[in-house]
Each structure stands twice: as C-alpha cells, then as structure tokens.
C-alpha cells in the first residue's frame, strides 16, 4: 500500500532512505526475507539517478583498480537472470532484460589499443580463470551482427558475453511492486531531513514534519548520502556527476547487442550516452555535449543520422572519490548502514540477494573491507 499524508508509517523494523535503484533493491531483498521494511522515497521531482540510468547490466570495465568491485559486479551479473524473472513477475510485464553480451566500440587504432590494454590490466588483477571480455576485430563484429551497418572507422570492439541490458524504469517499477508484494511499505513524498540515534534505534524526521522510529536504517540516498550519513557518524563523500543521455523515436531493429553509450531498447528507441560532467546539482542538458555524443554515435552507426531524437536529460550519478561503491555500518551507531554506488542497475541483483541479508543479519559480508568509505579519510590515508 502507498503511504500518503493521510496514512503515515510511524514504526518500522528497517527504514531504507532513498527510493532509487540501490534503496529499492535493498528494500526488496529485506522485505522478501520477512523484515518489516519501509522505503522512504522522494516526490515527483527528485535528483533520481535511477530515472536517468542507461540500463546496462555491465561487468566489462568494472573494477579497474579494485578487484573486489570487479568480483562483486560479476557475482551480480550471475544473479541477474533469476532476479529479472522475479522483477518481471512483480511488474506484471517484461522489464526488457537481455543477456546476450555487450560491446565497447573502438573508433580508430588508438582506441582499440587502449581498450585492449585495459582488458589485460583487469584480467591480471584477478587470479581466477577466464577473461570477462575479449577483443573482436571488424570481421568478428560483422559475423556477430551481420545486419548492423557499422561505420568505416569502427575497427574493433571489446565483447563480454555475460553483459546485458534492461529497461531501468520497468526495473524500478518491478522493485516497488515486489516490495509491496512481500509486505514492505513504499512511502513516496517522504524525503528525510534528520536522523537521530535514540535508544538503540533511530528517529527519522521527514521534510513534511512526520516522524518515524526504526530499529535499523539504510542510507541509500544517492547524492544526499553524505549529509545523511554524517548524522550517524559515517563519512561517505559522494558528489553528483552529471551524465546526459538522449533517446530516439522507436526504430526497426538495428543494434542487437547493447554497447557502452549506445543501445537499442526492447521498445526500439536508441539510447545514446553519456557525458561525464562536474556541474553540481544541475540536471540540465547542453546542446554542445549532446551534439558531441550524437556525432560519436554517428561514427559508430552512420544510418542513425536520419533518426529523430525525441528526448534528452541529465542525470546525476552519485560518485565517490574513486568511483567505486561505498558500503559501511556505523561503528558509533550499529544498525545504521550506508550503501551508495553509481552502478545500481548492475548491482541490483546482488544488493537484493547478498547485501540485504547481510544487513538483516547486522553485519556486512566478509571481504567487504575494501568498500568501506574510510578509504577516503585523509587522516587515516596520510
């Protein structure tokens, strides 16, 4: 059921703060395991990274410099097929999930060489078997997608057979429906302004003045995480980083596999991403950046020149200083957790199936030390 101003939740076992991809996946995983969960979401206008998400379930390129993140992403990708089925069942419709492999196109020899070197680095930092991704030359690309008219400058691509994509909006809808199905509560229009640790639990104040008492809390509030985490004595530096995305009208099938910054959705529209800009909380779009992105997309697929773009938007990724996820439990106030990352779609399955049970058990999984945000603490690092 939906929480409105007439019907406010005042008690919960676990309050998850943030109705985006991370908070919703955790709330689903908690509700599924019988926790008394409330998901505190914002209103119609919020800095929703989840809504601006590109929709890749992606492992190649993840974790260059942090092997634990690479392994965590791979584990999530492996859990995705079952998770997707549960989401489709809850949403009552397909969520557009496909796992047929993913590509990173290389335009020119320099890009190809750089990409190959990065894949080698990623492979070398893992001690286990098969590489996540391999390089395909133009001939191999053509064999893989014979009907896709690649531009002449595309010389190669990296290819990861385990990568895929999903409609992130239907995923979020499925998560919210699944939370309800398992007895959890979803409270929209419930931005949290204050957290006060009280007697082994936490009292939360909402922007509308309503109060809520919870035994445990999970702060998964995207770009608002830093402010809220400080209230439970966790330093979790997160800054907004803008990514602009644009999308075309629905087109006949053209690109069977998703690629970094270029994918065709199940509906037929082609999504083109994605910029990396440090502009604070500005969710606007700029013609300069979108024009650059369009030009790049046309290099890969020149036939797109005639496709009409109908929408564009800017979304804010919650970025930590090193770009990797941050997970922590407050040592001062046990029972308060922080979870933040900018790969909420890829990690949704593992958040629901591994992180949520750990939070319920009161202890983060073994091997999670590298994810602790104390790695950003200049005093300990110095």
């Amino acid at each position: 059921m939906s929480d409105t101003s007439r019907d406010k939740v005042t008690e919960a076992g676990v309050a998850v703060i943030g109705g985006g991809m991370v908070g919703s996946a955790l709330a689903y995983g908690l509700a599924k395991r019988g926790a008394n969960v409330v998901l505190l979401d914002e209103g119609d206008i919020a800095y929703r990274a989840a809504r601006g998400n590109f929709g890749l379930v992606w492992t190649q390129s993840k974790g260059d410099g942090m092997p634990a993140y690479a392994a965590w992403s791979l584990a999530s990708a492996a859990a995705w097929p079952d998770f997707a089925e549960a989401m489709a069942s809850a949403a009552g419709r397909s969520i557009g999930y496909e796992q047929r492999g993913g590509l990173v196109f290389c335009v020119g020899d320099a890009e190809r060489d750089q990409r190959a070197a990065q894949l080698r680095r990623l492979h070398n930092q893992r001690d286990d078997a098969a590489p996540v991704a391999t390089m395909l030359d133009r001939k191999a690309l053509h064999d893989l997608m014979p009907r896709t008219p690649l531009g002449p400058q595309v010389v190669a691509a990296s290819y990861a057979p385990g990568d895929g994509h999903v409609n992130p909006l239907y995923l979020l809808r499925g998560l919210h429906a699944a939370i309800r199905r398992h007895g959890g509560r979803h409270a929209p229009g419930a931005a949290v302004t204050q957290i006060v640790p009280t007697g082994g639990g936490f009292t939360l104040t909402r922007a509308d003045g309503a109060m809520l008492r919870a035994d445990r809390i999970v702060i998964a509030a995207g770009v608002a995480t830093t402010r809220l985490a400080a209230m439970v004595d966790i330093a979790a530096p997160v800054r907004p980083q803008r990514g602009q995305i644009m999308v075309t009208e629905r087109l006949a099938p053209l690109l069977p596999l998703p690629a970094s910054a270029l994918r065709q959705s199940a509906e037929g529209s082609v999504m083109i991403g994605v910029s990396v800009e440090e502009v604070g909380l500005d969710t606007g779009t700029t013609v300069k950046e979108l024009a650059r992105m369009a030009a790049r997309a046309l290099t890969v697929l020149p036939v797109l020149a005639e496709a009409r773009m109908t929408r564009a938007w800017g979304a804010l990724r919650p970025m930590t200083p090193d770009g990797f996820p941050a997970y922590a439990q407050s040592s001062t106030y046990p029972g308060a957790f922080v979870a933040t990352c900018h790969s909420g779609v890829t990690l949704a399955a593992i958040h629901a199936e591994a992180l949520a049970p750990a939070i319920l058990a009161g202890r983060l999984p073994d091997g999670f030390e590298p994810f602790h945000p104390r790695r950003f603490d200049v005093r300990t690092a110095a």
Binding site: H142, T148, P149, A252, L254, E306
Partner: protein
C-alpha cells in the same frame, strides 16, 4: 470525409504506396490524402493500430509518413510537390540500411 469544391481541380500528382493521387498547390501531404479519401496514414510501433491525422498543425505526430524516402515526416507539415512519393509508415520506422556493408 472531406471534399474539394468543384472549382478546385487538382493539377499535381503524387503517389501513395504507388497509387497516383491528385493534389493542389498549397496542400499539405495530409490534406491532399484526406481529399482523396485516404484517412489511415500509418500504423503505430506500439500496437500496429492504424492512425490518421488528428491535429493538422504539427502537434500530435500521428500523421507520420515516409515522404520521398524519408521516414517519420509529419504529413500535415510538408507541402506537396508534383511527383512526390508517399508511403504509409508501418510500425517502427525503418532506417536506410545498406545490408551490403562489408567488414
């Protein structure tokens, strides 16, 4: 249905899915087709249901057609020219795909 007054004889010819249709200078493609009794101009990419012009002023995007080989043009916003080739757009628009692409 719509009709032209008798004094207004069409003097241009366009083709719709290969069939010749008369048109008058100044007509939009959509107006010329409606005058010729052509009402359904495309089918949707969502359910393949038939659509025709609704607003005639560029707002609704329901009259999208393939005009001289270019898909997704608003038939109400394009003026006819003699010999123009019009095709109904069925489902999601195609791109001009050259399948002869070689690696």
């Amino acid at each position: 249905m719509f009709a032209r007054p008798h004094s207004d004889t069409p003097h241009l010819t366009i083709t719709v899915d290969g069939q010749p249709v008369g048109a008058r200078e100044g007509d939009s493609v959509a107006a010329a087709l409606l005058a010729a009794g052509v009402v359904a101009m495309r089918s949707t990419p969502v359910s393949q249901s038939k659509r025709g012009p609704y607003c005639m002023m560029g707002v609704c995007f329901d009259c999208l057609m393939i005009i001289d080989g270019v898909p997704s043009r608003q038939a109400c916003m394009v003026s006819v020219r003699d010999g123009m080739r019009i095709e109904r757009q069925r489902g999601p628009r195609p791109l001009e795909v050259d399948t002869e692409d070689s690696p």
